[in-house]
Symmetry: D4
Subunit: 249 residues, 8 copies
């Protein structure tokens, strides 16, 4: 129930069409309905170009299809993460305009392509093995209405490659940096720009990388003050926050 509904109910009470006991009963549940309203607001907010996102992992193709169908009745856009080509074929039956992003392992439907970011989001990855996570960030940011600039395979052990690509990220409004192994790239990029850098550690590596722990700790201890960190392999989260930072107001 939103503010208008509330007003209408009170007018019914005033007019005597709803008695006080009935209104009391209805309003007693208001706190949560009102929060429900908040949820609706929140949803409306999100619908402003931001897709509802389905985490594909651990769901069957059929379950994903059901959720997708419900979302697409209310929303122009859709995003499915950590999914497969098999799910994509199932989604195509509902939405023939769906796209599959094999590296990012994502499905997107983007009927509303309004640009909602006022700058560019750069997505930088250290190694070729980090590209799937970088793509997850890039596809998410694109689906949320942003221009995205990809700068891949510019790890710190060949720092000239990063310098050579500087023009591709130095004018971005926010930068996502994806790296495994020692996770040093966000610090270097962070020192070269004056915008927020979102660091994504990946589980790429072996031995003392401990499935991304080394990269995670490295990024948390970055000597560059403009770096924040998300979970290991959380390309989606990085793309999501980057979109919020870049969002037009």
């Amino acid at each position: 129930m939103n503010r208008d509904g509330l007003k209408k109910l009170l007018e019914e009470v005033r007019a005597g069409r709803i008695d006080v006991d009935e209104a009391t009963r209805r309003l007693a549940r208001l706190p949560f309905e009102d929060i429900e309203v908040a949820r609706v607001d929140h949803h409306r907010e999100l619908r402003l170009g931001f897709p509802e996102v389905i985490l594909g992992q651990g769901k069957t193709a059929e379950q994903i299809a059901q959720i997708a169908e419900r979302i697409l009745t209310e929303s122009s856009n859709l995003l499915v993460s950590r999914t497969t080509e098999e799910v994509f074929r199932r989604i195509c039956e509902l939405a023939p305009d769906a796209e599959f992003h094999p590296q990012a392992r994502m499905i997107s439907v983007q009927r509303d392509r309004t640009e909602r970011g006022y700058g560019t989001i750069a997505v930088i990855s250290a190694g070729t093995s980090d590209i799937p996570i970088a793509e997850e960030a890039a596809v998410t940011a694109t689906a949320m209405g942003n221009r995205v600039s990809r700068v891949y395979d510019v790890g710190v052990a060949g720092i000239h490659r990063l310098f050579g690509a500087r023009q591709d990220f130095e004018s971005a409004r926010v930068i996502v940096v994806v790296a495994g192994m020692e996770g040093a790239l966000p610090s270097v990029v962070g020192g070269m720009v004056s915008v927020p850098v979102i660091a994504v550690p990946t589980s790429i590596g072996y031995g003392a990388s401990f499935d991304g722990l080394a990269a995670l700790l490295g990024m948390l201890n970055s000597c560059a003050s403009n770096v924040t960190v998300v979970n290991i392999d959380n390309g989606f989260g990085a793309g999501f926050v980057a979109s919020l930072i870049n969002r037009k107001r």
Copy 2:
């Protein structure tokens, strides 16, 4: 605002004494006021013999005295944890009937001594070094209106001592077991009784005890199904939950 207040407001609306806009404005804030009511309920609940608790750690004697003064205007009982004799002397100025529990490092004021538990709470400790944490649990449970039975220094490496003391804990409604080092005691006790056992790992030990981690992991992996665990050295929490379990309804 509770249900009666809500009804009254609606009647005022119906009677035309409060206009719809004003009522809408008031009700829009209702969720949180209602939650506010919940808080008051919650407080009332707690006041039913359960003292307000002040965590003494990191507060000055003067800060503790101020909070204590405010509590004692509304409440019969008071509990201060992780505190010192110096604070106790300051509290005595406010409440000459305050007691100091040096081992538990707690201060209690207990003007309302109604018994609120319907059984006994047994507090068992493995070693003499674990006694301060055991006492923190015991003093908390006593302050919350329970009969408490203490069984100390019955570690598993002398299992006959535990058996010898069985009559002191086998009729308890809930048992708190405090142990450092390998933390094995809760499993043994858990296998001897059919009531809930709350395990408290302590930081007692050295080397590979890693400040209580060994005891904590041991307790979490207990092969006795009736064991739950609280944080390392959290005697207060164990005494608190034990009291909730033992509370008369």
Copy 3:
């Protein structure tokens, strides 16, 4: 041998029907028989509506069937945890009234349905992926003679859902809260109620969740004093302890 048996033996000795040497021999084993008695008592206690539980993991269908057969000769109820549909079909040959709980991965036989708890046990889960563990707790509590209220998919990132469901758990005698990822839900629930909360961390998550470690540590450090914790994914343990807390005396 219980107290009556002991008395009878002594009377036989007194009456000269059993000689002293024979009685000495029998009694020399008494400590353990007496403990055996304790075990029998313990069993009797458990039989009062509490099923014998078989941990299915690592046992063959045939092994489980043999244990189940022995239990069902002495006991009305049976519970098998971490099992499969294949085992269920085998158990059905013994007990056609057996039920399979696919989400909880449990089999139950419940011929004695006496209600043994005096309140309700609420089982709350954060995400849909946590439901199998939540169901393990719920099925256990049901099998042990409790009324169970399920509140699923109310994670903290959509706190209004939890508030909306408040009526379903705020009158419970004890609450089991199941959550993976950051494990924040028990703290929030703990702050809303004044009954014991048993927190179950799950291994749901990825990256820095470290197979449930993040959730486990979060729950152990809960700022709500009424929270205790069991092992990662230990839904059975949580349901078991909740039943002990809720047991009628």
Copy 4:
């Protein structure tokens, strides 16, 4: 050397006033001089209302004073973190308008008070013990030209307090959430808003908090997609990034 300097050099070469070998020698060092230029650009960027920051930890009062003196000849503003009142007295000799922020342990000089953020930055803290880190974030954000809204002591175990304070943070452009122990607050706040949330774990806690590790892991595993994380106790970093996000373009 900037582009103009480069052009001038080439004109000198063309005019024959500088010979080719000399020009070659000068240009061979160009990459680093140009990067040097970048550094100057970078500095100019930072000077646009962003203070130079001195990390006080591990430096003597005299060392800090010398660096501060140099900064204040070029810059209107100054910020010293992790410092003491003794250092403050030394800075006052240089800058009588310096301010000391005892909770944040920071010194600021703010001669240029241009507002550079276009929204508000909210800083939320869970417990009273987390306030020093929250203040570090708040003072940093203020010094960088932002309006800051403080919402303190609203931990998740009393969720109604957070709801009661919602109006103080729901319109912010970016939110910093500071929490120790289980670190659950960022997830709850993250679920209530649609702006970026920067989570700061603190080392507040004991036992299984492992000096902030529990809070850190909790935040990294947040089920709210708009949460990013900085290092344990890194209030400055959070305030810095929040300012970059909020910066007018």
Copy 5:
């Protein structure tokens, strides 16, 4: 070269049958030859009833057969650990008297059955899942010429079972205790006897057992002074050391 060989060489030198340079050359390599001698002594020592042991893990059936063949030319006994029935069939071609121990996953050939221990070695296991590791210890100790007493499934949560079996281990010269989960059994056993206890943590458990880490830490922190520990799942090592302790002199 042993002492006699050395003496003979010197006598040849004295007699002028070997010249000084040649003798110098031979003796320059003496350190390692002498150590070589030590190795031979060491081997002789081991041959006194102790089988050569082949770690089967990571070797093909053919490789194991080749090593076994070489051992059996010099030695009466043979032991292969962490192996399979397939390897057993291959070994049977060489040694039709070989035995396969399926639970222990070991093959033994024991042609020399001299008893070499002067007491009994007891092997105690906590749960049924720990039996394979316990069997590895028991088969090793048997193969090394010891009488072995097995006491299985006497975990601490049913302490009466351990007491009931006391006569089976209280007269042992050394005890191996195998336990997973919380690893509490060695402490309890250690407190009941006055002989050395060798604790073997197993990887049995789930969640916070962290593949045996919880049991390992528990055992290292044992409050019983007569407990030493071997690696997780190292039943062979425990059986080996127990045999050395029990060896007749």
Copy 6:
């Protein structure tokens, strides 16, 4: 109550001098009394030349003196570990023949100097910083009636020193090896002898030694099969177990 006492009681029952109810009551407590007997046996065992040991850490001089006084009335020998010279002076008032071992931080009274081991115990340490822990083992073994051979400062980075000292340990019945840093010494020693080796990791080291964790893990993973491990810095435990292994039967 032992078997004779039991028989006597039954005869009294038979003779009618004790009635059945009284006898039942007495026998109901038998399990624990019998265990009590076990405790006495255990004590007698220990008294056979093994001192009662007081852990000095965390006890006042006065507390230690009181326990020591009680022990010395029943026992010839006494051992206090982790203690100070101040405590020693206090003990001297009770036992002027007490000795202080400053490196081991132990006090011993040894009135009964019967030799109880049939071989020698060698105590080997890697570095000079490990000597206090090595001395704790050596003093314990001496106080328990063993001949002890000390071989100090023979770390693996100068392996010739270890070889040079071989005659001092190769004839020992059991060897204690104390090492910090990488903890490699027990593996090397273990490979040179065919007796049990008890490895004691020490907290000596810095950085990635993590307070002895590196040495502990190294020792647990020893490739020598005759190595078992005790807790970090647990020299006493190693000396105690070594004495049990070496004990005459």
Copy 7:
């Protein structure tokens, strides 16, 4: 652009054949082009007998073949690590002189066999299971133009084997030591020689080896000052650095 290209450009400017604006534009990109030059230099350096290396892991046979083809147009030598025999067959189509090293899981093409090291590189391994990693180091060093001496299966638990093989490594210019389990071998070898020792921990082991962590920590804490460490299982890195150390100047 290298120094010659730069000079040529300036001469064109001087001669008026390129105007100043065009030259400015070209030079503005110089920093990175110059770094590009550095890269080329770097490549030239590497081409001096050092193969380009392809990490095979995670690449298809086709991808590897494409990269290999490109390398072999510019370079005489090629090295593929962590690869398979299937890839080898594909490479043979391009380079019939390719060799496969099954233990090292590497493919090499070595058309330029100039010796580039001035001493020998010794590669020592502790156990037979460590040989694949040792071979990775040895094959890398050979491919980089070094004489390599292999000393395998000389673990510390049979130290005489290491001594017996001393002549095979004591004259090396640099030594690579590969060990799993406790990782003690580098310390022992380090103490026997006065050249750099590169320690490679392997993931060989079980239980508390924690996938190579025990060996890694042991090596980092080596008491021999001439030991440095690379990542777990990083035989390639060790062989690479050893080659750089041994390189003729």
Copy 8:
């Protein structure tokens, strides 16, 4: 005993001046004496410009003075690490030409200043707080007869500083890189040069740096193949190995 001594002994045997039994007795101890010879060789090697090093930590000024006195009778040079100015004053009494290096916390006596390295050793540090460890490496390398080039405060967050200083390290024969926090600098430097890089993690940092663990893991996972790692804060070890690499042959 060296080869000449051995020959002389044999000649005495031949000449009948030493009888065979006596010679046998002497030679029986040869292995270790020969190793003793090796030790002397080793010492001679080290004396070739390499100082004996005393680890000052945990030794009294007097103990250090005694060891220093002994070293200076045989050796021209001396190095004391982790020491204090007080020890320096004591050493000055023995060696008035001693120098104190306050940042490195080292004392050196360098009477033999022969240059023993054929190239330069560069020591690079990331932050000013890392300088003490960098100085420890630099002073060690200087004392071992090397030219040392220091490049300090060139952390990756201001990568242009590192580029600006490139000429100071790009011609070095070996580079030591010292960094705390995220430990990213060795990877960047490693990618810029083709010589061995020795990475030294420092304990500088806070929170998730976990006393240097983050830097350590980062360096072990370096994507640059020419990086090896020493223990946290082990500047001495890095300087020592760098000297061995740079040593003239």
